[in-house]
Amino acid sequence: MQEFDFVVPKTLAEACQMLSDGYGRPVAGCTDVLPQMRHGKLKTERLVDLSRIKSLAYIEHSNGRISIGALTTYEQMVTDRQLHDYAPVLAQAAATVGCRQTRNRGTLGGNLGNASPAGDTLPPLLILNAQVVLAGSSGERRMAVSDLLLAPGKTALLPDEIITSVGFEALPRGMRSLFLKLGNRQGMAVSVASVALALQLDGGGPVQDVRIALGAVAPTAIRCPEAEKFLIGQQIDPITAGAAGRLAAQACAPIDDVRASAAYRRHAIQVLVKRGLLSLSNDGDSHADN
């Protein structure tokens, strides 16, 4: 592996200082960064290891708002009861990441900072309308996750900024959510296509509110406003769910790569959106399997 300096800040302020010259790269679990460095896809002169800043690993809930520290691991999200109650879609997505070994190391902040189109927590964060809190030498700022993610591997972070937490409102009572992921196998899979859905029906009838986001089928995870608008006021049945699936497939911009072709991804999105909507409308089980 390439040579680099390794520094371990104890505080956030120290970390920002160590990144301020633009030559550093913040890391925590390293589950994405180390393979990228070994492949020469990522070069850096200095790794700034945030993993000793313990104050950044937490999941808090107060007044209907959830805040998750950037150093929270996938495994912590999988096992957190509050998250299962208030944003099950995010806990579900975290459970599909890699294997236990990677879930014990990889962090929510890392998933955001890497900005992979296939990052599994990103579609759930989009339908939760989540905001990130960033800390830098010149202070703190907030932005929507949708504004943070610019392109594969690119975020709106300034060189000396660090993602410190992610916040969102708990899903409204009665709103069911679901994460569906298609990989090339069940375990240890990077998403070929993924869908995060939240659905609220008006008294079990027409759609009152719906949120749809897609992963691994565009340069970033994306919301699907066309499909969402179409569904408002509709009864969910195989015809409307199928039509929403087609609108979602039109909204995406997939590529051919080692894992799947663009055409397959587009088809997969159509199927996943339809399947997810039918599953959410049919039963109260928000953990329904695909």
Partner: protein, 158 residues
């Protein structure tokens, strides 16, 4: 070079290491713990280098040696109790869950981690727990049987 303090299988040590070395490099090459294997070229794909870091299951190729500073590591060598195999190791032997053996230490540590959290796992839970440990020989059937066998041994022992 960096100096790190690390407790490996109960033994505290101070070790010099370069920033670009992984915990796997340190354990296998510097400390000679060859039960920690490298099968995928340190990409985090195969799980052959699985160890416990402060009691948590990790791929040691995805941890920098420097990140293990001040921490405790348990490898397969630390699971064995003196001259006796750990009941999970013994169960893998008896069930014939070992063929080429390359994935075995990692798979046993994953099974250990599972049984510590879930003393009576279902087949599906066992398969999920072993999903990060690639085995090209056994087809996993005998590994699942071995974990059930170990489950019984451990519940008798406690």
């Amino acid at each position: 070079m960096l100096t790190i303090e690390i407790t490996v299988n109960g033994t505290y040590q101070q070790i010099q290491t370069a920033p670009n070395r992984s915990l796997l490099d340190l354990l296998r090459d510097d400390l000679g713990l060859t039960g920690v294997k490298d099968a995928c070229g340190q990409e985090g794909e195969c799980g052959a280098c699985t160890v416990l870091l402060d009691g948590k299951l990790v791929n040691s190729c995805l941890v920098l040696a420097a990140q293990a500073d001040g921490r405790e590591v348990t490898t397969i060598e630390g699971l064995q109790q003196l001259e006796r195999l750990h009941p999970i190791q013994q169960a893998f032997v008896e069930a014939g869950a070992v063929q080429c053996g390359y994935c075995t230490p990692g798979a046993i540590l994953s099974a250990y981690d599972l049984l510590m959290h879930t003393p009576h796992p279902s087949d599906e839970q066992i398969r999920e727990a072993l999903s990060g440990n690639l085995c090209r020989c056994t087809g996993y059937t005998k590994m699942v049987a071995a974990v059930h066998h170990a489950e019984k041994e451990l519940s008798h022992a406690s």
